[in-house]
Symmetry: D2
Subunit: 344 residues, 4 copies
Amino acid sequence: MIKVGIVGGTGYTGVELLRLLAQHPQVEVAAITSRSEAGLAVDELYPNLRGHYPGLAFTAPDAELLGRCDAVFFATPHGVAHALAGDLLERGTRVIDLSADFRLEDAEEWAQWYGQPHGAPALLEEAVYGLPEVNREAIRKARLIAVPGCYPTAVQLGLLPLLESGLIDIEHVIADCKSGVTGAGRGAKVGSLLAEASESMKAYGASGHRHLPEIRQGLGRAAKKPVGLTFVPHLTPMIRGIHATLFGRLTQEPGDLQALFEDRFKDEPAVDVMPAGSHPETRSVKGSDICRLAVHRPGGGDTVVVLSVIDNLVKGASGQAIQNLNLMFGFDEMAGLNAPALMP
Amino acid sequence: MIKVGIVGGTGYTGVELLRLLAQHPQVEVAAITSRSEAGLAVDELYPNLRGHYPGLAFTAPDAELLGRCDAVFFATPHGVAHALAGDLLERGTRVIDLSADFRLEDAEEWAQWYGQPHGAPALLEEAVYGLPEVNREAIRKARLIAVPGCYPTAVQLGLLPLLESGLIDIEHVIADCKSGVTGAGRGAKVGSLLAEASESMKAYGASGHRHLPEIRQGLGRAAKKPVGLTFVPHLTPMIRGIHATLFGRLTQEPGDLQALFEDRFKDEPAVDVMPAGSHPETRSVKGSDICRLAVHRPGGGDTVVVLSVIDNLVKGASGQAIQNLNLMFGFDEMAGLNAPALMP
Amino acid sequence: MIKVGIVGGTGYTGVELLRLLAQHPQVEVAAITSRSEAGLAVDELYPNLRGHYPGLAFTAPDAELLGRCDAVFFATPHGVAHALAGDLLERGTRVIDLSADFRLEDAEEWAQWYGQPHGAPALLEEAVYGLPEVNREAIRKARLIAVPGCYPTAVQLGLLPLLESGLIDIEHVIADCKSGVTGAGRGAKVGSLLAEASESMKAYGASGHRHLPEIRQGLGRAAKKPVGLTFVPHLTPMIRGIHATLFGRLTQEPGDLQALFEDRFKDEPAVDVMPAGSHPETRSVKGSDICRLAVHRPGGGDTVVVLSVIDNLVKGASGQAIQNLNLMFGFDEMAGLNAPALMP
Amino acid sequence: MIKVGIVGGTGYTGVELLRLLAQHPQVEVAAITSRSEAGLAVDELYPNLRGHYPGLAFTAPDAELLGRCDAVFFATPHGVAHALAGDLLERGTRVIDLSADFRLEDAEEWAQWYGQPHGAPALLEEAVYGLPEVNREAIRKARLIAVPGCYPTAVQLGLLPLLESGLIDIEHVIADCKSGVTGAGRGAKVGSLLAEASESMKAYGASGHRHLPEIRQGLGRAAKKPVGLTFVPHLTPMIRGIHATLFGRLTQEPGDLQALFEDRFKDEPAVDVMPAGSHPETRSVKGSDICRLAVHRPGGGDTVVVLSVIDNLVKGASGQAIQNLNLMFGFDEMAGLNAPALMP
């Protein structure tokens, strides 16, 4: 049994960590912090947790307290982990950061997209990008994990086999992504109101979104050279889920694409390549840590289409964070993550 | 480890049994039947189950096969359990019927509401109404369980304390109930299409609904005399959830209503009386076997209002069925039912 | 052609006025004010209006400008009309207030529910409660209209025939009401986010809601004595619509209830009594100024159930406001309000 | 005042014709047919129409009756207009077909995609493809109109400026389209149930959809040579709306793309090019005949992204059909189509 802490527990990734960890046989949540809600019992904010965390209340962030944990999750806006991670690492506490703070290896690029200097460039070298399907061994040994973003997870998993095998034109990759509204967080914004976002569909950030450099970096690592990516995210009237529709142009006869995908992920516990001809639905992963994929080649032409679905709060955030934790502490990789998706 | 079978597994209560039983440590699903889908793997119909039931496929109903199970769930339209339950009981298999077949103790009344003669009146006497909060001891010893309907569960749990204590006018009880569309089942009906049922709200069955006699019977048992009930169900644009708003007129000073409710349910693992002043949300029980209750006395007047929420597919059907199974086989009552609700 | 102004045009009732008035043959919108959005073109905030109001932009509130209008709508939070209405009336401009400022005849009661002193008690006597089905003649001559609230409109229209005819026990009337989220306005509140309010149902204000005194006042006028009302509003996962389910206990044989309702509303252009046995859907009035009603007497017992649906933004606010305007200026009562509801 | 008939009036495009025509000053609906619902009043099926079409009921199809109309709309499954259009044209009645029967100029290709021989090849030559933005003059003189499909409308309008100007690589055009569920019609299919389609997102027909040849044909006409198109439609949890996200690769410096789009559509009453940087929402056209467009060039690279939104039932079907009618009879092109979209 290890002790974990959660910094910034009032947002959606925070409560999702609590929901999932309630089923984890080897983890105890010892501390959860929130500046704004200090003193409030977690189940007053999230009644679904009533009975699961008796006595657990939000506290003000406290390095002492967090430093007594074996690992600490950051479910915070960017910048917070920059400020606190170094101190925790020195205390021997491992850090799993769900924010964007350590996702980009280039501090300059980070500063450009986030409009402020990088707050902990010295830690960048040891930070491990927590995508188990790519970095499993490094994760096992890591002290500091940058959990991938939701869009980056769905897009990378869908494109890895094509990029690693060099089958597509890497200068013109297209990712058309659709996300549920929890992707925008729990902040009270007019555009996220049910009255505004329901019964509607819209693109956003078509000329540039903060997940773009992270995706490009990941795709570039897989392709071993820079990848030209057009990424258009859309807001979709649902609570959870990301559907990434990925388009690549084949530069050679690809052979059996279905087999390529099945081989690439055959030992991956969190990736499910569906049968040929499938169209995965986001609801098939609602509440679960699975990414389901399908690959199509319409009309046998030179365009390959990959469909990739995840739950943005699970495989796209808190579930993947726990997968990382499990690897770091030698637990079963899917411990606490085995429940089937909620369907219907 | 016991073996269970599911008859009629293609509907929503069937797949919900599979979803929940996947997490049950002491139960193996040995057979699942469906006349229409025989031969199909369960995870082809329900991709959320991929990886959870390797090799499990629907088969045609087969008494031999089902008779080798320790218990069989019926997740079928009415009439089916009438035809098969007797044979299974003779083979020593316990029967947990999620349909309406054994809910009414009076075969005549059943025939009236369902428009056909009761198919197994001889079994009525031994059938136990599977509401653990009322019949726990009888359930432990039962061979044949009638799992309560979804509306009846939400309404009875909300009214039990008031009726058992004789505080309200039993001739004029009102239950205004709102249900998600899974309550109408997986049948393809125009009225259940997203295009018809979304962005709208409507009552139905205002002059009489099949759950009415079941609720009246249950309330009458609690009050120990006939109860006059007006029951108006509504179709609500959500997938899961029932919200019952219950109105009773006090016939005497009730004392501390909050304490009355807390006392009545203090040892109940599946009922959560929320703090005074609460308004439970259906999402706080989404996917979970919990019924959350709140009691109000607006303006200190003579009307008491109870708010009662359940997930119609869990506490209102498959979860409660498993709660019954657990009691019948001496397992922890909430085995397989411990995951927090999915929120947001 | 008359000129109208709108104060507080950025909220949902403001944009709804613009949507409806775009189709009104005798009205020109000459001014629209908003402190926060002054300078912004209306169609930048509401792109559905592109092409309909070329050149119209929000301006800071300006009594001079508004005073040049024939009528001014207040689509503001409470308190604003208190401050500005008197001045406009003196300038000869008629005032149609969609807020709660002039709905209660008793300034004390208003102060109690709104937590501040009434800001214009001297105007209360001349304010006319703008429910055309009750006050048509007074509205025609009025200078100052208090447009009824959304819940009050749905509840009063459903209960008028029963109260006016003295058929029900007026001490125990129950209104169980379900509203779409636009009822909560365009303010950015966490509880109104799609991620929070979708796929869920909850009651709120069970122990007291600001619409309660307004409803009680209206019902009391109809019954000619005080009415005891239990009012429980619910938040429903849809954008628009109110479904009021109303329960009354008959104190005598009521005769033909269907005929009673049809007679009461036979000349009302905005009320539609549906055929006996109907269950009106809120979507059947989406975007329209119609209130649809159905009356049931379940099991022929002593409880009467009325189902009443409106679009909270139209008959519950902006449409009704225009109905008042039409009456005040001698236009056809339904001018600008004739389009069928949007269904599906 | 002209008389029109509607064949197949019970589906969503049928009721949408009725909703829109109720506001048309120069059109009377003289007949509406439905084999399955003959005898039923239209407002029994669609209560939103109560009061708008007193006395109008569905009748069995009857060439005599329809032949007395000036124009007849077919809102039918494919094949029906094949069988009836010729006879009507001979009687001097103009035909506006909302089905796919006359959309493809090549009868062979039609037969291939629809799995049955083309039923009226002799009429193909005179059929005019009813996209006013391309064929306005031909439409004015036409006797037989093939109203474009919903996806084809959204995709063609978004790509016309790029194809007509020869700016993009026409061998690799991508259309990622998202549709509300009314696109699947009013048929009762399990996949269209709220319980299945809500809170989820999925692609379908990734390897081939019936709208593909129609879109290719239209794009090819604009480009004046064959266009290689990858078209992936998605089912989105909303009632109405199509969002097409279109990707083209620039083959030359394009100059001012915003100006290109504005110029192309400056005189088009049903197309709205939004300001540079915009992201149109489908709700901004809900219930309206407008197509809103925005053009982006992310990062100034060689990929151009066009965002195109329509209401699939209006500009994507019934509204566009009426636009055609207006042109054919010399009415204002937008008569009956002027109401702003319903937002929120």
